[in-house]
């Protein structure tokens, strides 16, 4: 195991590998190789080996990787065994959808609480039954439930304040959907997903191809590389 800093590109891919391994396991496949994994997504096999090598030697030379073993290793590296508890702040359209998003379950997360400031929502429940608490009780509920991660789904204007409240409550990992750059603190991770910016990237792609209003030169690339998400 290396002591190097792990790039987020790498961890992102680890998640992808893990998902693939789960699929392979369900299909009854017991062994795999970096080459096989590389073909599934179109990645370079050396990349996969290198990503894994940051964390140890999981493979068998001449053979490959044992699906079940590697799956467990990755799961543990990503901390999914911890079964982190997650809360959502903001019970609007997006917040409600995230609160009930079933995809989180597979990764071992459990969504245990939602928060809002609107009296009409406080005390209610999401469709899937998650209680919506008063944001004022954030600290208390976080402590009581042992919540480790928070998702921000409030309007941009309120996001920084909510972020501070989450941090004050002891949460050190935040996924932010509000379209603002949040200021974090040491020892915290804030990852932002900005829906408009994502769409704008696609819009740029379209403009490049058919320069309607503008005079941008033609291009016929199908492949744009990976893209970042604001983080602190």
């Amino acid at each position: 195991m290396k002591t190097e800093r792990i790039s987020e590109f790498t961890t992102q891919r680890l998640s992808v590998y893990l998902r693939c391994l789960e699929a392979l396991e369900e299909m009854g496949v017991e062994r795999t190789s970096s080459k096989m994994l590389a073909e599934r997504f179109n990645l370079n096999s050396a990349q996969i080996r290198k990503d894994l090598a940051y964390f140890g030697q999981f493979g068998v030379r001449g053979v490959g990787y044992i699906v079940k073993e590697l799956k467990q290793q990755l799961s543990s590296i990503l901390g999914l065994n911890a079964g982190h508890k997650v809360c959502v702040v903001g019970a609007g359209n997006l917040g409600a959808a995230l609160t009930d998003y079933q995809g989180f379950l597979k990764s071992g997360f459990s969504l245990v609480a939602a928060f809002d400031s609107s009296p009409g929502k406080i005390g209610g429940r999401s469709r899937s039954g998650v209680v919506i608490y008063d944001i004022k009780d954030l600290r208390e509920v976080v402590r009581r439930e042992g919540i480790a991660m928070g998702i921000i789904a409030v309007p941009a204007e309120a996001a920084q304040q909510v972020c501070n409240q989450l941090l004050d409550a002891g949460i050190r990992a935040i996924l932010n959907f509000a379209p603002v750059r949040l200021n974090g603190r040491p020892n915290t991770a804030i990852k932002s997903i900005d829906l408009s910016i994502s769409l704008e990237g696609l819009s740029f792609f379209l403009s490049k191809q058919s320069p309607d209003s503008q005079n941008l030169e033609q291009e016929q690339k199908s492949d744009i590389p990976s893209s970042p998400t604001e983080t602190r």
Copy 2:
């Protein structure tokens, strides 16, 4: 203007600059500088100048940039003036939330249609009044309405098929929320936002800091860099 390929990191940042310029304009600020912008997010000012320089010379030496002018330039570069029409496929929790997401409006997009395959939903409307069509009518509605971009919010199993249908209907820019890697085609852009993978990245961060179950060494970094999103 250069003929180089523009990195998606750059376009992502252009969106961020644009949003900042809008805020500045609302505040009545008329001029700004790469330094001022760089301080807002913590970026390097040279980066900003370089990003802008790919598209032309927008600044005035010794002075900076005219907010209004630059804003319009960026808007046009990103193709936001085109007012692209967008549809959402999948009227579940997430799809419904995206259909009604008001944040898209600011960027000049208009969400004109939703699609689903469930008889219970077809013919209905989202909360904000967007009609939910039968996915079978995708091609026709896309043509009639002049839809340029599609958002996929269906379960993983259905995503590739929906993707193909969108492409067949002539849509060349897709934002995908299903947790699968989609196969695209030449001259198309597919950008994926994977909610679970994003959370897993945060989970990894937490494990690094407090190695509960695992033996990962301690670390006290507050800053993780930017992160990618699967694209094709």
